[in-house]
């Protein structure tokens, strides 16, 4: 299965980066799940957590308030002022 490259960055530093199978995030209009090959998207995140399923099936969750998510060429960047792993 194709992988997507994920990086979560906060204002101060890069919080997490790695490869994943799937990423689920809460946007302003609802939850969105992204798999490899999704169309390019720029979405504003609502308060809530971002769930990432790693390549090995491991689940990583992060809180990302006040941020956005961009996806293109199988690279996801979750950008938020205060992003933290939970």
């Amino acid at each position: 299965m194709a992988e997507i490259k994920v990086s979560i960055v906060s204002a101060e530093r890069e919080v997490w980066s790695g490869n994943a199978k799937q990423i689920i995030a809460r946007t302003m209009v609802g939850e969105i799940g992204i798999l490899a090959g999704h169309e390019p998207i720029l979405a504003i995140l609502a308060q809530g957590e971002v769930r990432i399923t790693g390549v090995d099936g491991q689940l990583v969750t992060a809180s990302a308030d006040d941020g956005f998510l961009s996806f293109d060429h199988d690279i996801v960047t979750v950008v938020a002022r205060n992003a933290e792993l939970t």
Binding site: S7, R13, M28, I41, A43, I44, D72
Partner: protein, 298 residues
């Protein structure tokens, strides 16, 4: 001990004490540069991601947004000056203030009114001394900038920018700060923040690469609304971090040359003191010899 010799000894003492202080400051800022540089590097991914997203929205979609469109007539421009809280950093603050002076002169020449926003005690003192007005001043914490301060500055600027010029808003925002190039070189830099001019981070699409056509959620306008304040904040935060790193580097350089100068002074005065002592001894000997001669020839 002769009077002259005592004066030289005092001067040597004083130069030695000064040297201790400057050496300590040199070492302190040397250790802080490391940290400041790491913070600049650590904030890199964030500002790159934000810049990339903003340029994607602004360049590859046709939306008119207040933050990206150039007003027909610019009446008032804001200049944000990033200085430091403390001096003893060579030409660090002078450079940035001179650069902003030149910018102000140019803008005034274009018929724009100017409002100032100052960061750091040195710029505030410079303005207070010349009785110039500043719209707002942020002091404290320039050595280790907090993101909250950047957010506050960003919010103030965006709010002013959204206001129409007739109600005291500004049409253009410039920032002036010292950019950290290397340990030895810091350059004052002027950037027009708003209306947006995105230069860095925009890679022209390669021949065979198609620039992604983004889908926006909820829609382009909302995305821009949310993105631009974030972009401004990240640029301001970046300027603050750069400025902090540059300040530490400038202090280290200034303090190093101060310590070197103290060394030179100590050396010079030691020579002079040795001379004075030698001539004192010579004089004493000749006095004794002369006295003995006078007594024996009686």
């Amino acid at each position: 001990m002769g009077a002259q010799l005592r004066v030289y000894r005092q001067k040597i003492k004083s130069a030695q004490t000064t040297k201790k202080i400057t050496r300590a400051m040199e070492l302190i800022s040397a250790s802080r540069i490391q940290k400041a540089q790491q913070r600049v590097a650590a904030s890199g991914p964030y500002s790159r991601a934000v810049t990339r997203a903003v340029s994607a929205v602004a360049t590859f979609s046709n939306v008119d947004h207040i933050l990206t469109t150039e007003p027909e007539k610019i009446e008032r421009a804001a200049i944000v000056i990033f200085s430091s809280d403390r001096g003893l950093a060579g030409a660090f603050n002078t450079n940035v203030l001179r650069e902003s002076g030149e910018l102000a002169a140019r803008l005034r020449h274009e018929g724009k009114e100017i409002v100032y926003y100052l960061v750091g005690r040195k710029a505030a003192a410079y303005f207070a001394f010349r009785r110039r007005d500043a719209e707002r001043i942020w002091t404290g914490g320039t050595d280790a900038p907090e993101f909250d301060t950047a957010k506050e500055i960003g919010d103030t600027l965006v709010e002013k920018f959204v206001q129409p010029a007739s109600e005291g808003g500004v049409d253009e925002i410039h920032i002036v700060y010292n950019r950290f190039v290397s340990m030895l070189v810091q350059v004052p830099e002027v950037v027009r923040l708003l209306p947006l001019e995105i230069v860095e981070g925009v890679e022209a699409p390669a021949e065979n690469e198609v620039m992604p056509l983004y889908e926006f959620e909820p829609d382009v306008g909302d995305v821009l609304d949310a993105l631009l304040p974030v972009y401004i904040e990240s640029r301001i935060f970046n300027a603050m971090l750069q400025s902090a790193a540059a300040k530490h580097a400038a202090t280290q350089k200034a303090m190093k040359s101060a310590s070197d100068n103290a060394d030179k002074l100590i050396k010079d005065y030691t020579r002079l003191a040795n001379n004075a002592r030698q001539s004192e001894i010579t004089q004493q000997i000749s006095e004794i010899v002369g006295g003995a001669d006078a007594l024996s020839s009686k």
